[in-house]
Structures are given as C-alpha cells and as structure tokens.
C-alpha cells in the first residue's frame, strides 16, 4: 500500500463527561517511529486503544493500513503488534508457549519463536514459565510478543519501562530494526532520551490534545534557546556568561572568552524535549 500506515483525523473519545482525547490528528509513515509523549492521563493510552480496536472512537476517524479502525477488520488486526504497558502475559505458560499461542491467533504456523526470543535475549529461558520471570524479562517477553507476527504497524506503550540501561539499549535497537524493516511504530514513553534517540518525529499530547508535532530537532530549534554558556574562573569562584548565537556582538565576545586563560568550559544551550514540553504545557511529563 502507499500512504501512511496510521492516519488519524480529528479522533476523539470521552469516558462519560470526561473528554480523554479531543480531536487529535497525525499520521505515521511505513518505517517511521512517532514518539507520543505526554504525562499520565494525557490521552496516549486511549488513543492507542482506539487505534488497536479496543475502544470505538466517539468522533473523527482513524485508518490503519488504509482501513477504518471502526470496522474492526481481522485482516488489519493481523498486521499490527501491540506492547501494552501492563505485562499481560500468560504466567502459567512458558515463554515459548506464550509466543506460539499468539502466533496461532495470527494464523502463523511456521513461526520461529526461538528466533524471536533470541532477539530479546530470552532464548535460554524459552521453556521456563513466564510467572518465574523478573520484571525486566517479562518486559522483553512483551516486546517479543509484539514482534511475533512481523507486524506492519507497531504500538509500543512504554517498551523499556523497568529495564536496565543495557537491555533498554538492546530493545531500542530491535525497535529500530523493526522500523528499518518497514514497520510504522507509534511509541509512547516517558523517557526523553529514548524518544529523542528513537523517534523520527515527536508528538506532545496534553489533556487530550496534540500541542506540538515535529522532528525532535525542529522542536528544539523552534522552542529551545540558541545560545552558548561560557564558564570562567573568577578569583576563587566561577562566573558564567550566556551568549546568543547568530547575532550582535556574540562572535567577537565568544572569540575573546575562548582566548581567555580563565576559560573553564563552553556548552551549547540546546533545549531538552522535557523543557520544551514544560514550556508548551506548563507541566512536566511525569505528572
């Protein structure tokens, strides 16, 4: 197919009188990772539930692989992979049995579940019951389950939550591999570093509305401060100067300070995604 793998137009949902999602619009192209950032209760999970067929939208439209999600088409469901925030695995079953069961729901007969487990570093625990797994191992199982049908669209809700830095890096690498394979990935996360590193574009969602949507670089340029911070020795203490880039007398002053024997450090003052989010919404991402 051509066109976006996920196309959302004015999508909305309300729990009773509470409007959880207020007319959000975005799209995700095949091979693209869209970072969906927002604090708890912002509407991220509700949006994913509508896109995965768990909730019926109250307004607007959403198409996955060109098919309206309201149709709840099994053929579309067969092309998506979901990694939930809660670790909803069958604890009584082994890792292998979990994957083989879900593969059978997708109608995949020749699944190489061991290879999928190998990708997330669980091949040696394939025949252990998931109930005996650590939190991190269960999270890796969640990722492997989402990959089992080689989906064209991936919904990943906090995929590296609770993982150690090494495992997180490995999981990020597999997510990137999936995108490189051509999968469209909608990624929700609290981890700014992860969003920055993985996402081709980032959407900020707050109180059910998308307040910004662009590449991380563009957002930083648009909302960040273009300046450098120079720190200098000053007697027994340290003094610092902020120099705006691209204008006025800054280049000459910067050259002067760079030549000073009291110079300690020079840093660019690039805005973080979190700082931009706070600037746009007046609240933090953990809230």
């Amino acid at each position: 197919m051509t066109g976006p793998a996920i196309a959302v137009e004015s999508l909305s949902y309300a729990y009773g009188s509470l409007e959880a999602v207020k007319g959000v619009s975005f799209d995700v192209q095949p091979g693209e990772i869209l970072g969906f950032l927002g604090p708890n209760g912002a509407g991220k999970s509700t949006t994913i539930k509508m896109l995965t067929g768990q909730l019926t939208p109250k307004g607007g439209s959403a198409r996955i692989l060109g098919v309206d999600v309201a149709l709840d088409d099994p053929e579309v469901q067969a092309q998506i992979g979901v990694c939930f925030e809660e670790k909803n695995l069958y604890l009584q079953m082994t890792a292998l049995e979990n994957l083989e069961f879900f593969a059978s729901l997708f109608g995949i007969r020749d699944v190489d579940a061991m290879e999928v487990l190998r990708r997330v570093g669980l091949a040696d625990r394939a025949r252990d019951r998931v109930g005996n797994f650590s939190k991190g191992m269960r999270q890796r199982m969640m990722i492997s389950r989402a990959f089992i049908n080689k989906p064209k669209v991936l919904f990943l809700d906090e995929p590296t939550d609770g993982l150690d830095p090494v495992t997180s890096a490995a999981i990020r690498a597999t997510i990137r591999e999936e995108a490189d394979r051509g999968a469209a990935v909608l990624l929700t996360t609290h981890d700014m570093f992860e969003a920055d590193e993985l996402s081709d574009r980032v959407a900020f969602i707050n109180e059910g509305e998308i307040v910004a949507l662009d590449t991380a670089e563009s957002l930083k340029l648009k909302y960040g401060t273009r300046s450098v911070l120079v720190r200098l020795r000053d007697g027994d203490g340290v003094r610092q100067e902020h120099l705006p880039l691209g204008g006025g007398g800054s280049p000459a002053r910067l050259a002067e300070l760079a030549a000073s024997p009291d110079l300690l450090t020079i840093h660019t003052e690039e805005a973080t995604l979190e700082a931009i989010f706070i600037k746009l919404t007046g609240r933090g991402l953990e809230g």
């Binding site: 099994p74 092309q79 998506i80 069958y90 729901l105």
Partner: protein, 415 residues
C-alpha cells in the same frame, strides 16, 4: 495482506491455551482430583441398604409372662386348648416389619435402648451383651441389635389383665430419635394386647382396610442413602468446576491477558465461545467420570444421563461466566461462586427427604436437571419422561448463559 486466519483455528488455539492454563494450575487440579475422589468415596461409604423393620424389645420374655399366667388362667376356667394357644403366643403376629427381641429385665432393655449397653444376636440365636465402656472384644459370629423402643411389662401382666385388675403398669422405653407416632402406636399395641388377654373384644366393628401405594411400591426395595446422594454428588462436581472455571475467567480479566488476545484477529465472540466450550466440556467430562465411578450408567439410561449432564454443565458454565466477570480475587470468586451455586444445589437436598418438592424448589433452574437425574437413576425413567424436564432445563440454560455472556462481554469490553 495475508489470508485471514479462520475462526475455527482461533477457537482451537484458545481452547488449547485454556487446557494448558488449567493443567498448570495446581490448586484447581488438586481441588478437582480431591473432589472426584471424595465424592466417589463418600458414595461407596454410604449405606446401600435400608432397615425397613422396627425392632421391638420386650421384658420379661413372653414365655415368662405365659408361665406366670398359666395357673391363674386355669383357675379362671381356661381350657387346655386355650392354654396351648397361649404357649404359642407371638406378639408380632400379623405385624409386618416388626422384629421382636426379648430381655430378661427392664433395666437391661433400657440400657440397650439408651446405648450404655450393646446387645448382639449370635448366629445360634442367643442374645449376648457387651459394655461399650469396658475393654471387651465384640462378640464373634454375632450382629448388633439396634433397639430403639421397648415395652417393660410386669411379669404378672397376662394374669393381671385377664383378671381385670386395676393399676397394671406398663412402661414404654424409647430412644430420643423415635418419632412420636411410633410411640403412640406402641401405646395402642399395649392396649390391644390387654384386651386380647382379658378376652374382651374392642367395642367397635373393625373395618376392612385396603392399602394402595401410589407410585412405585418400594417396600422391600427402598431408595438407599447411597442412591439418594448420587445426584447431589454429581452436582458437587459441577460446583467445583464452576469455581475453577470462574477463577480462570477472573484471572484472565484481572491480568488483562484477554486484552492481548483481543488486539489479534480474535474477537470477543471467539473468546466467549472458547470459554464456554472448555467450561462445559470440563464439567461434562468430570460429571461423566463421577457418574461412571458411582455406577449410575446402564445400557438403558446412558444417553439420558449424558444429555442431562450436558444441560447441567452448560447451566453451571453460564453461572461461571457471570461469576468470573464479577469476582476480583480468590475470596471474591469463592463468595460469588457460593452465592450463585448453593441455591442451585437446593433441589438435590429435596431428594433426601420424602414427599414432593415445594413449588419454589421446582422453580430453581437446576431442578429439571436434578429431577431427570433422580428419575433416571432411581426409578428407571426413559426418554419419554426425561425429554420434558430437559427441555425446561434448556430454557434455563439459555437464560443463565445469556446473563453470563452479557456480563462477561461487558467486562471484557470495559477493560
């Protein structure tokens, strides 16, 4: 896009998963095995016969009273033929279902009725006693006499009543459990004896009485406790499986694994069908095993019993679907299971007591299932009698299933 997976393949996969999940849960496996063993053991331990005769004790022995009365009656003008008839006197003559046991003393008889002394009848017919408090072996080649009621006559009873003496006192001893009507019958029995020995006919014309037994005459073939318990035992299995099934459903909802299933090509309907088929199959198989182990199946009734079990299993699975969507944890499951299944057990209690069930008992959904089980296993009912009850049971199945499926569907969709 790839070719879609068939509904049959999805349901098969879900059933396979159910079987793995069930087989891996040690608690449910233990409960199931324990219940089957316990139910079958209880059945075979229950008495398989009914004591239809009442043992009547008397003291002193009849012949002692006869010997005492011989001289008095002779003096009163009794002929040798009449005295010979007295020698052959049988207190229980014409009284069907009454066995007589004679004691030398009233104290001995009272102690046996009270249970502080045990009486045994040897194979030779002798009566021997044992003090249960003493360290004595039970007599060999003897069976214990269960005596619940006894009449202590004075030794001079026959001669006294024949002489129309006033103040003749007879004492009736009875166990606390003896029904009042039996005690009343003993009073009448004593009065009738007195009239007979006094040679005075009752001052009434005696009507002829015909007895017509309505329904199957079970005299000599009473329904044993073992037979009465059979339907209840089968229901116990259904109850345990309701709990197991509802727990599996509840676990699936609580752990939200159902959500993971429903973002695949599987639909809510597939999930519900798989739960239904698995729950009904589980109950049906176990109910069949238990009924087979308690010897309920015959070449004539097996098809009716299987159909009845199927209806019962479907009915309890409907309840399990509802309970599974309501309970949040183990205690919650237990509470809801008990709350909804104990009322369904009530009809099985009605079998234990004589008489037909009260109208409100007949209104309980499980009544038609139980009624068919009872009529088939106890009274040899065929398809003609069972079909109506089972059809009525199926109506209840549809209602309970509808409620269960609606509750679970709502629960799943709200996750």
């Amino acid at each position: 896009m790839s070719s879609p997976v068939s509904r049959g393949a999805i349901i098969t996969a879900l059933l396979k998963k159910e079987l793995i999940a069930y087989s891996r849960d040690k608690l449910y496996l233990f409960l199931t095995a324990l219940t089957v063993v316990a139910v079958v053991s209880v059945f075979w331990l229950l008495p398989d016969s009914v004591e239809e005769s009442i043992t009547l004790a008397v003291s002193p022995p009849v012949q002692t009273m006869v010997e005492d009365a011989r001289e008095t009656l002779k003096a009163m003008g009794a002929t040798d033929e009449q005295l010979a008839e007295l020698d052959e006197a049988d207190l229980t003559e014409g009284e069907e279902g009454i066995a007589l046991v004679e004691f030398e003393s009233a104290e001995q008889m009272a102690a046996v009725i009270e249970g502080t002394l045990e009486a045994y009848r040897t194979n030779e017919g002798a009566l021997v006693f044992r003090d249960p408090g003493a360290d004595e072996d039970k007599p060999k080649d003897a069976h214990r006499m269960n005596v619940d009621i006894g009449i202590a006559f004075p030794e001079t009873f026959i001669s006294d009543v024949a002489a129309k003496k006033d103040g003749v006192r007879v004492t009736i001893y009875s166990d606390a459990a003896v029904p009042e009507e039996i005690e009343g019958a003993m009073h009448s029995f004593v009065r009738e004896m007195a009239y007979q020995f006094a040679g005075v006919a009752l001052p009434v014309g005696m009507p002829d009485a015909d007895q017509i037994v309505l329904g199957e005459d079970r005299v000599g073939n009473q329904v044993t406790m073992r037979e009465k318990m059979r339907p209840m035992l089968a229901f116990m299995i259904l109850l345990i499986e309701t709990f197991s099934m509802s727990s599996l459903i509840s676990l699936e909802v609580a752990q939200r694994t159902v959500t993971a299933v429903l973002v695949t090509p599987a639909k809510v309907a597939d999930f519900l069908i798989a739960k239904t088929v698995f729950g009904t199959g589980l109950s049906l198989v176990q109910g069949t095993i238990v009924l087979a182990l308690v010897g309920a199946f015959t070449p004539q009734n097996w098809s009716i019993l299987l159909a009845t079990l199927l209806v019962g299993a479907m009915m309890f699975t409907g309840v399990a679907l509802f309970v599974g969507s309501a309970g949040k944890d183990f205690m919650g499951q237990l509470f809801y299971t008990m709350m909804f299944t104990i009322p369904l057990l009530i009809p099985s209690f009605s079998v234990l007591f004589p008489g037909s069930a009260a109208p409100w008992v007949k209104a309980i959904p499980s009544y038609p299932v139980l009624d068919t089980l009872v009529n088939t296993t106890m009274y040899g009912a065929g398809w003609d009698e069972a079909a109506g009850s089972l059809a009525y049971g199926l109506v209840w199945v549809v209602v309970l299933y509808g409620i269960g499926l609606f509750a679970l569907k709502r629960k799943v969709e709200s996750l």
